[in-house]
């Protein structure tokens, strides 16, 4: 048992209102620079839709992630042989046009234009060439377009769906969409780290944040190919790759990353999870159906005395273990089993979990084409949802419909229970039956309700401080820094030669 601590996240998709505040918060802090204008370390997509970069989920195009080989996994499009072979030209790399050409507007023209008969306008100009362009795509141009030919029809998740289900999703009465905020998953089995020929990308041992050492990056571009979520970006100006740093300066101070902090819908939860690093390889190489189950088995119970002892042995701080015990992520993912990883079939073991959306599953259209909401039961059965289970299964459980159904039934049980409690307009047996079906008692349902709907700031973000002060003491003896000029200036003030 090799217990380590990992920063993990939960996004509650039912609560996401698709406002893009997270993306803007991130952009303002990290990627508002030359060469990084096109990067959205955090972005919000509409599902069904093609996403950003276009069709990123299709690994037949981009060759990201891992593939199972025997009892282990191999990188699909990179690695020691394929990567080095593709050094001079990487055949599976997305290019600028797969994302979009970033642009701005000539605002100064509004003030400086010469007097004339026409109103001055602010024309769009490319942020790369500075030429006038007509923007044809952007990072969120599929926003809310769940029925569109261009975006929704080309969603990669339809590939494994039956044609009937596919057709049904595009009937006007059954159309539905939900938002999918995405960011770096800080995976347990990161493909970007494994693909980097220069060894610039690494996972931080203390909290599991995956970072790129900008001084060691040599622009071999293999991380861009290898990351199946396309969350490693190439900065065309500096010639270095960049990715989400999980706002580590904030994290180390015990504060939530900017995207989490700014979330308007309060859908985001972040905290630590303790996991057993010895189980990673076996879990990554599971069969498709067991991927979610085996990944969740890596995370261990932070209340187990054995786990606590092993964690302390590995140098995990008291405060981190305490946070792991209070972790909202642990509750959603392990205790309640409500959150699932996005595309577990990429086998990177992502640490960002999603509570699948229940809203579009509530009502459905009957044969006459009118909405059915109250006939059988108060909200209709999960199986008869507008959004086919196979679609959600393709997103969150590597195609395993049972997994997703179990989660949705639990969510539904909580909803029925609370409706019976607060409004009381549905028979109590229905609520108790639903709870019994999901093997859940009333207290648990209330807990889920509370952490979902009424969580306080400190309940959503339970982050241990990184104890930098101790880290510095561990790295550098206090005797060495004695007489120096303090933080950030390590050279002793010695008279020059």
């Amino acid at each position: 048992m090799d217990i380590r601590s990992q920063i993990a996240m939960v996004f509650h998709l039912d609560k996401c209102i698709g406002c893009h505040t997270c993306s803007i918060a991130c952009k303002n802090i990290w990627t508002d620079r030359k060469g990084a204008e096109y990067m959205w370390w955090n972005n919000v997509e509409t599902k069904p839709g093609t996403g950003y970069p276009s069709k990123w989920e299709d690994q037949e195009i981009y060759k990201g992630g891992w593939v199972k080989k025997g009892n282990s996994v191999l990188l699909k499009g990179a690695g020691k042989f394929k990567g080095i072979k593709g050094l001079f030209h990487n055949p599976n790399m997305p290019v600028l046009d797969d994302y979009y050409e970033p642009w701005t507007y000539q605002y100064e023209n509004l003030f400086e234009a010469e007097e004339g008969d026409d109103q001055p306008i602010a024309r769009p100009v490319s942020l790369i060439t500075g030429e006038y362009i007509t923007p044809k795509s952007g990072p969120n141009w599929d926003d809310d377009l769940a029925g569109s030919e261009e975006y929704a029809k080309n969603d990669v998740n339809f590939k494994n769906m039956s044609p009937a289900d596919h057709e049904a999703m595009f009937q006007l009465e059954r159309m539905s969409f939900h938002y999918l905020p995405r960011m770096c998953n800080h995976c347990l089995n990161p493909a970007c780290v494994a693909a980097c020929p220069s060894g610039a990308i690494y996972k931080r041992g203390e909290d599991g944040v995956v970072l790129i050492n900008q001084k060691k990056c040599r622009a071999w571009r293999m991380c861009v190919t290898a990351c199946p979520y396309k969350k490693s970006y190439y900065n065309w100006n500096t010639g270095k790759s960049e990715k989400c740093v999980l706002c580590y300066p904030r994290l180390e101070a015990g504060e939530a990353p900017a995207c989490h902090h700014s979330c308007v819908g309060r859908i985001r939860y972040i905290s630590v999870m303790l996991y057993d690093a010895d189980k990673i390889e076996a879990a990554a190489a599971s069969n498709d159906d067991d991927l979610v189950k085996n990944q969740l088995a890596i995370y261990v119970d932070p209340f187990d005395p054995k786990v606590i002892a092993a964690a302390k042995e590995n140098g995990i701080h008291e405060s981190t273990i305490e946070c792991a015990q209070k972790s909202p992520v642990y509750k959603f993912v392990k205790k309640w089993g409500l959150a699932l990883p996005l595309h577990p079939e990429f086998r990177t073991l992502p640490n960002l979990f999603y509570v699948p959306p229940l809203l579009p599953t509530m009502s459905y259209a009957n044969e006459e084409g009118s909405y059915e909401t109250t006939s059988e039961s108060f909200w209709g059965a999960v199986d008869k949802s507008r959004l086919p289970m196979s679609y959600l299964a393709s997103l969150f459980s590597a195609g395993n419909v049972d997994t997703i159904k179990t989660v949705l039934k639990k969510l539904m049980a909580v909803r029925l229970h609370r409706r019976a409690e607060t409004v009381g307009d549905l028979p109590e047996e229905e609520a108790t039956d639903a709870l019994r079906d999901s093997v859940m008692d009333k207290e648990t349902a209330d807990d889920i309700f509370r952490l979902t709907s009424l969580p306080l700031f400190d309940q959503r973000f339970v982050i241990p401080p990184a104890h930098r002060e101790e880290a510095i003491e561990m790295l550098e003896s206090t005797a060495d820094v004695k007489g120096n000029s303090g933080f950030g200036f390590k050279e002793p003030p010695v008279r020059g030669l």
Partner: protein, 240 residues
């Protein structure tokens, strides 16, 4: 006189600049060491340019290296005329491949506005020096046959004498102009490595073959007792 400058002064200057400059740049300006790939802005034409160019150049570089390090083996190989012709034709083929690749790369860079935005003066210099090098190389290979036959007996002793710090330029001074240009531009190229994107020759990721795929860095190791640097070397962070 100019022979002294070009065949003694220049090579030593180039090697000193290479050593001092690239170490200085690597240590102090790590952020600026990159292959500066432009594939992100244009990918399709890069394929037809970059691959033939790099493979051609790599083969030619190692060909020259072999002729310098093992001259007797090369002479022995060439003792049968058919083998000589095969070697020359193959090498010439790689030369053509490098030339065609480079020409496509230059056209590509001039054609796309996006690429001009990431083109610097040093890139222009890189193109000029590479073009000079490849064109004179092809000229020499075609008109002054057979290079692999005279290189081991004329240029290897000269290069060896440079490395032994006892330069002997008698043979080199008598060579035709095209070969002289080829040699001089090679030394210029070597000397300019620290100042151009040529730096990426020196950071080829060999270490990738020898490391495990996953890479975890611990900022501190609590199990080990830290000691002052002033007494005994303690455990230092690996990523700073």
């Amino acid at each position: 006189m100019s022979n002294y400058f070009f065949f003694i002064g220049l090579p030593y200057a180039a090697i000193v600049i290479l050593l001092v400059g690239s170490i200085f740049r690597y240590v102090n300006f790590g952020f600026k060491v990159s292959s500066l790939s432009s594939q992100f802005l244009e990918s399709r034409e890069l394929f037809y340019g970059s691959r033939p160019f790099h493979w051609g150049l790599m083969f030619l570089f190692f060909g020259h290296l072999v002729a310098f390090l093992f001259p007797r083996s090369v002479i022995a190989w060439n003792s049968i005329p058919v083998r000589l012709v095969i070697l020359e034709v193959v090498a010439f083929g790689f030369g053509i491949s490098a030339f065609v690749g480079l020409a496509l790369l230059i056209v590509r860079r001039l054609k796309h506005k996006r690429l001009l935005m990431v083109t610097t003066k040093m890139d222009a210099f890189v193109y000029v020096i590479l073009l000079t090098q490849i064109l004179t190389g092809l000229w020499v290979a075609y008109f002054l046959r057979w290079g692999s036959a005279w290189f081991p007996s004329v240029l290897t002793p000269y290069l060896k004498s440079l490395f032994l710090l006892n330069p002997d330029i008698l043979a080199v001074s008598a060579l035709p102009l095209s070969i002289k240009i080829h040699i001089v531009s090679a030394f210029v190229l070597i000397g300019m490595i620290p100042f151009t994107r040529f730096m990426h020759f020196l950071v080829y990721p060999f270490s990738y073959f020898f490391r495990s795929y996953q890479y975890v860095i611990w900022n501190w190791d609590r199990k080990k007792i830290r000691k002052s640097r002033k007494l005994v070397n303690g455990v230092r962070s690996k990523n700073n």
